[in-house]
Assembly symmetry: C2
DNA sequence: TTAAAATAATAGACAGTGTTCAATTTTATG
DNA sequence: CATAAAATTGAACACTGTCTATTATTTTAA
């Protein structure tokens, strides 16, 4: 059959990503099924492969969307932030991950094979996220230290990421730690204080 | 058939874990196959399930072994360390992950379902690893701050873990960062310095 | 020594998965 | 309307983890 409804190709693509997003959020990375996505939007598995080409590229498209939602989440929080924007940033990192654990973890669960290229949109959304952090870090640093903001921002992202990962996968609970967020924030503050001096 | 060779049950268990370890190191978590493990040691898939009961418990057994090797790796490095034991620790964390990327990542790739319990040996090996770090952190802290060593150690593990994760999955390379290890070490030093003051 | 019980191992069946692709149906165009 | 183009299908393939009835061996008991 050919085009069977009023959906353009772009709209079909959106439908698949949207339903895929829903599925990934519900089932998690390991139980995600492209067949199930197709079934739920009333298409067959072949259509998914015509549009996305592979499982990897479908996941990539879904993760790109997650990145965008995550960046939106941070921007919204920063928009209505009181003075402590660094805390807002760390809390925003954690809260998105906690509110969307399967989606957030899927970003890091998915390791793309060497033969499949990273889509430009994916890299763009990812870049925006780091840009948000970098600009906030720069704001907090005194003029002479500001040149080091990008590098410090990457490092602070890694620091918060590590705390968030171990929080979500239960490692901190196993270690008897009940407040990973405050732990992460303390580390970030120390590093910023050191950069100021 | 019954026992067909001179392998005791415990020896068979070891054989499976050993070959599984090899497979996991080669293929990585997503391409790991219990069937392939069985085939390579000359047994059938059923035997794996008689011994381990499920895919999850096999992975758990393999990851337990990885934890032990990792702890050994750190102990060996600390044993022949010069004065800078903190650097040795961070470097040991990174070097094990870099030398065994698939095994190291598999530890965090594997999310065990809520219905399968964590084996005591798993938790024990994991505990030893954090103990190594905690004791080194305690050594570096002045007497009055030493009570906070366990909590700080957890946090520093998370910090280094985050840097190591983003290093191995290519995020740092994408961000243009070429030396994640030194970044991690700098953050750790800052936090230790802050704890001393 | 032989019979019974316990153990070990197998291989096939089942329901899934990602992937491919020839066949088919729908739409658009001349 | 006829034809070309595009979109969609679903069966087939080679896998996967999991379960189970069957068979073979070893151990134990009589």
């Amino acid at each position: 059959m050919g085009r069977r409804s009023d959906h353009s190709r772009a709209e079909l693509e959106r439908m698949i990503v949207l339903e895929g997003h829903r599925q990934l959020a519900e089932a998690g990375f390991s139980r995600f099924s492209a067949r199930e996505v197709a079934k739920r939007i009333g298409y067959s598995i072949g259509t998914i492969y015509n549009v996305f080409g592979s499982h990897d590229r479908l996941i990539l498209a879904i993760n790109t969307r997650t990145f965008r939602l995550w960046a939106d989440h941070l921007r919204a929080r920063l928009g209505s932030a009181d003075g402590d924007r660094i805390r807002t940033l760390v809390e925003g990192y954690f809260s998105f991950a906690r509110e969307n654990p399967n989606l957030w973890m899927a970003i890091y669960d998915h390791r793309l094979p060497p033969d499949v290229a990273m889509p430009p949109e994916y890299q763009a959304e990812r870049g925006e996220l780091t840009e948000i952090v970098t600009s906030e870090v720069a704001k907090v640093l005194p003029e002479p230290a500001r040149a080091g903001a990008p590098r410090l921002a990457r490092s602070l992202i890694a620091t918060v990421h590590g705390h968030c990962t171990l929080a979500l996968n239960g490692t901190f609970a196993l270690m008897g730690e009940s407040n990973p967020l405050e732990l992460a924030l303390a580390r970030v503050r120390e590093s910023l204080a050191a950069a100021k001096a």
